[in-house]
Symmetry: C2
Subunit: 238 residues, 2 copies
């Protein structure tokens, strides 16, 4: 059986602007707080700690009820829908998500976390740092929690990746009965982010998880921006 194991990485310190995430993750993956990293691992890091490390946390007047809306509108390139305090927005990255990814949870009062400027680059930087520090060939996914239309509840998805396919294209393959496959493209980076979320827990302060046992064929250079973001011209819901 080819099983997959998802390990939480616990006990990371509170991340500050300028911190090197690769070094923090490498330190925590000591076999006690997190698994000793090996070739082929996929390290999933939540957006929140990436944004903190990259200084993407800004002041937000907690007593001004309009301050957040203004910040969301500044971060968004387009507002698709409004309902009360919820804005469904398109970000500069092309992500469609609530409130342009502006997030007030797990940051200090009076502060707000923004999305990383280029989450694929963030993932590459962490991957390169882990490779340099530990000498391991692994992959990194930067994850965030997005809602969806039509279905209640949020799930974690990939907003950046390095060293692992964002989308696996099964076009031209055949199914177990030899028919050509109908569903051809699987967003494995999103599924890795979702799987990692199962050991993180929103309140438990586990911002990193390691997925071990991923299909080696998926370990290639990739990018969420290039492979997952659906151009508006292809999209039926914009």
């Amino acid at each position: 059986m080819r099983s997959l194991v998802i390990h939480p990485v616990e006990g990371l310190p509170e991340v500050q602007a300028g911190d090197g995430l690769a070094a923090l993750v490498a330190g925590a993956c000591d076999g006690e707080r997190g698994p000793v990293l090996v070739d082929g691992d996929v390290v999933v890091v939540t957006q929140k700690v990436v944004s903190k490390a990259e200084g993407r946390v800004v002041d937000l007047d907690p007593d001004d009820p309009d301050a957040r809306r203004r910040l969301v509108e500044a971060e968004a390139v387009r507002v698709l829908r409004r309902r009360g305090e919820l804005l469904v927005t398109e970000t500069a990255h092309g992500f469609v998500c609530a409130n342009a990814g502006v997030d007030l949870s797990n940051v200090a009062r009076g502060r707000a976390a923004l999305l990383p400027v280029d989450p694929d680059r963030s993932a590459r930087r962490i991957r390169d740092g882990l490779r340099a520090t530990l000498g391991v060939e692994l992959a990194v996914v930067v994850s965030d929690t997005f809602g969806r239309p039509w279905r209640r509840g949020a799930t974690d998805v990939a907003i950046g990746c390095a060293g692992v396919a964002a989308v696996v294209d099964l076009r031209g393959g055949t199914d177990a009965l030899g028919r050509s496959l109908e569903v051809t493209e699987v967003a494995v980076a999103d599924e890795l982010a979702a799987a990692a979320e199962l050991v993180m827990g929103k309140a438990a302060s586990v911002p990193v998880a390691v997925v071990r046992g991923v299909d080696g064929a998926w370990l290639r250079e990739s990018s969420v921006g290039a492979e997952v973001v659906r151009p508006p011209a292809e999209d039926l819901f914009r």
Copy 2:
């Protein structure tokens, strides 16, 4: 560390109408083809084998180019968008998905698989059967592969569940800094389905996986229909 393990269940026979899936899964979970099941496991079963076992496979004239469209329109309660052969539809269950879930892959030529009539009931039946056969208290998720707007690639989601929360409500909880949480509801059944897909592979004919190590607090009676399907009045994209 509280790790999660996802085991594929291999070597299931080709499923026929009338087959008892619980017995087939129990037989395959022999410690070789699949893990010996224990209390707290979440067994994820793909829609395709559930539909086959429940006889939800119909004839479809492979030489009539309109036959599929007519079947999709018959299965749908509403068509949200059309583009070429793709219809984005709402099903009687309230799911919004491509082609009303009508699926031609992994079925014989001239046949099409439809969604189960009540996938939550399907999940309960498998769960009850495994409990009766093996004496274990576990959960079942029935999964299917859905596309999404705005993002390329499909992911597996839950269309039915039994014994595990579809959505975990963290409303009223606090984050690691003591702030009330903003993102409050996590669709854990969808994340379990996505995680399971990582060991299945579309072409590999592994229609069942077992997720071990799930948070015990999530193991409760639930329903995708009641907890995940977003009523049209709540929805901003219908």
